[in-house]
């Protein structure tokens, strides 16, 4: 019995179930060469051994493609292999930025790109705002002493697990002309509303669906933050005769702020990347009212008969730069919090 406990199988694997046993054996066999290696290169340099596999995959399937992507962006033509593509310098970028006025997409050579930029910006602002408000509200409610808290948490988290396509399909089924929502509206005596044909409604719904689908994740982050606020601060505040609203503004919010920043930045980054959901739900329409940057890139690279990899790559490099900046901002924000 005691020896069963010490069996590495039991220690090592836990939830992974039946896979655990052979895996543990493999891991044990790996230990011999690893030990020898450690003796050879020393304890501290083992870090490189650990980082190597991931780095190899990473270089091959992320870093190299990013480089190729960049090469695409400075070449033209319809060829697929970089060797088949003539060098054009910054021409693709010049196309993207060839605008009469940056404020008026229709004056741009690549007007869809700029519409994508503006739509994405607008969508992101709405989405982040709504996301923060609703995940905050939900986190606060879930943080109360509620019966069945675990269940409710799971309920709100559950859509996070759905693929974007399923999410969009589900809501399309509800929002279309003959969908559930219109059925409800008409049965209440209202008129049908073409939710996905009216530009403002369409924007509203993609924000709504996006919040619906991802709120659970952010709620958990905020919930973790709320739970990290020591209960005795609230008790101290109560002893200090603090009114409720003041407690929220002066204690809860400031102490939740680091988590809020995480939520804002993550939601921002996700917002900029949005594609699948909107693609399936509205197809970028009506008109180009919900056409997003990534959608533009996708369409340029794939859906057109002449698959314009060069232009798409240039747009994706621009997008990548923006995303990188946002990510660094997130990092800086969390650093500052770490120092705090």
């Amino acid at each position: 019995m005691a020896s069963a406990e010490t069996n590495p199988r039991r220690d090592g694997a836990g939830a992974a179930g039946t896979l655990a046993a052979p895996l543990a054996l493999v891991m044990r066999l790996v230990d011999w060469p690893m030990r020898a290696l450690q003796r050879l290169i020393g304890e501290r340099r083992m870090a490189y051994v650990f980082i190597l596999p991931n780095l190899a995959f990473f270089s091959l399937f992320v870093f190299l493609p990013l480089v190729i992507n960049f090469v695409f962006s400075v070449t033209g033509g319809a060829g697929l292999f970089p060797s088949e593509r003539p060098y054009v310098g910054a021409q693709q970028y010049a196309y993207l930025f060839d605008c009469g006025s940056f404020l008026d997409p229709s004056s741009c050579r690549e007007d869809h790109f700029w519409r994508g930029v503006y739509n994405t910006a607008r969508f992101t602002v709405f989405q982040v705002t709504a996301m923060v408000l609703f995940s905050l509200l939900t986190a606060v409610v879930l943080n109360m002493k509620i019966r069945g808290r675990g269940f409710f948490r799971a309920v709100y988290f559950f859509p996070v697990l759905l693929s974007p396509v399923v999410v969009a399909l589900t809501w399309k089924w509800i929002l279309q002309r003959d969908g559930l929502l219109n059925a409800a509206l008409t049965s209440l005596g209202g008129e049908r509303i073409l939710f996905l044909v009216d530009p403002s409604w369409a924007m509203f719904w993609i924000v709504f669906v996006s919040v619906w689908a991802h709120m659970g994740f952010y709620t958990l982050i905020l919930l973790a933050g709320l739970q990290a606020i020591p209960a005795d601060l609230y008790e101290a505040a109560e002893m200090d005769a603090t009114p409720r609203w003041r407690m929220f503004w002066r204690i809860t919010l400031p102490l939740l702020w680091p988590n809020m920043i995480v939520v804002i930045v993550l939601a921002l980054i996700k917002g900029v990347q949005t594609f699948d959901e909107v693609f399936v739900l509205t197809g970028g329409g009506p008109g180009t009212a919900t056409l997003m940057i990534v959608h533009y890139i996708y369409e340029t690279a794939f859906a057109n008969q002449v698959q314009n990899f060069g232009l798409a790559a240039a747009a994706s490099v621009v997008l990548g730069v923006v995303l990188f900046a946002l990510t660094l901002a997130q990092l800086a924000a969390s650093r500052r919090k770490g120092a705090a």
């Binding site: 005795d232 109560e238 002893m239 200090d240 005769a241 102490l255």
Partner: protein, 355 residues
């Protein structure tokens, strides 16, 4: 400043009762300390007084006014938490001013009060700092300052010193005593530190499993514990508690060895099982050849005093405290004398037999 009256205060969490009817009168300006083993309900009682817990039965009156159903914010008490519960995002000044702002004080009145308290607590230089930039002792003082500015009816403290290191604890303890001398408020203080309780309290309340075991001044508890529990709990190192049996009026035989000592036995009949108690500092070395022979198992010399731990046939380990640096070594045997006037006797139910 105000008095406090608890009448039959009960508190239950679901089916488990934590406080079984506590009656207590605290006079205006008194410093009362709650002690008791972990989990006995000290914090619960304090929080019930504060209004942070709703009590299940009984009544609480402050200055004669019933506050049983008043929320914490309206009882006018101040509390210093074990964790200090300082608002980490506010400066020391803002921490102290927060309650006053809530109470609608004018800006300059707030300023005046905060600065006065800061001065009293030697915090004036730190008013703009955030709590995380303060040392443990300073934080502790801020927590007290936050309580002082409000001029509360009663101060409540829940183990306020337990997060400080030994040296700081001693220093702060003395400061607290001085503070009480100065502002003279009614204070209720929870601790499990012997020394704090003995040195700070006007009266100590010993709690055990939700019941009061004894209330009294520190020396009353030390000199005349009502029962075995209080005897064992108050005093450090613990009182030696030795099982025995009354052999005759005024005579008790200890343990299996049957070493007989003289001791006031009250009304107890011969043969009654008793427990004799004597503090390590009260045990004396008997002249050679007399007394209970104790085989020394361990000697600890602290410089100014020494502890001898030893065993005697049929008795639990006996601790003996000697002044100075004892010469005795492990394995030696020393004869013990039990000075009669320092002996405590407890009957089978653990109640003290008073001479």
């Amino acid at each position: 400043m105000a008095g406090l009256k608890l009448s039959a205060v009960r508190k239950a969490y679901g089916a488990t009762t934590v406080l079984h009817g506590i009656d207590l009168d605290v006079a205006d300006g008194e410093f009362v300390v709650f002690v008791g083993p972990s989990g006995c309900g000290k914090s619960t009682l304090l929080r019930s007084i504060a209004g942070l817990e709703e009590i299940t039965g009984g009544a609480i009156a402050i200055d004669g006014a019933d506050v049983t159903h008043l929320p914490a914010s309206e009882r006018g008490l101040a509390m210093v938490f074990q964790s200090y519960a300082l608002y980490p995002h506010m400066s020391v000044y803002a921490n102290m001013a927060f309650a006053l702002e809530n109470m609608g004080f004018k800006r300059d009145e707030i300023d005046k009060r905060v600065r006065r308290a800061a001065e009293m607590l030697r915090l004036t230089d730190y008013l703009e700092r955030k709590p995380r930039a303060l040392s443990g002792g300073q934080r502790q003082r801020v927590a007290i300052g936050r309580a002082i500015v409000r001029d509360p009816k009663i101060f409540l403290f829940d183990e306020p010193l337990s997060n400080l290191d030994a040296e700081l604890r001693v220093a702060t303890r003395k400061e607290l005593a001085a503070l009480h001398g100065e502002i003279g408020g009614t204070m209720i203080y929870v601790t499990h530190d012997q020394v704090e309780a003995m040195t700070l309290a006007d009266r100590i309340v010993v709690l055990r499993a939700g019941r009061i075991e004894q209330i009294g001044t520190p020396l009353e508890l030390y000199n005349r514990p009502d029962n075995l529990f209080v005897a064992g709990f108050i005093g450090s190192p613990r009182m030696n508690l030795l099982p025995g049996r009354v052999t005759a009026a005024g005579k008790v035989a200890l343990g299996e060895g049957g070493h007989e000592i003289a001791c006031a036995t009250g009304d107890l009949a011969a043969g009654a099982p008793v427990t004799a108690g004597i503090r390590p500092e009260h045990l004396e070395l008997a002249p050679e050849g007399q007394g209970l022979p104790l085989t020394i198992e361990l000697v600890e010399r602290l410089g100014g005093e020494s502890y001898l731990y030893g065993s005697a046939a049929g008795l639990p380990q006996i601790t003996l405290k000697l002044d100075g640096q004892s010469e005795h070594e492990r394995g030696h045997s020393v004869p013990l004398a039990f000075p009669q006037q320092k002996l405590h006797l407890f009957d089978e139910a653990g109640q003290a037999i008073r001479p």
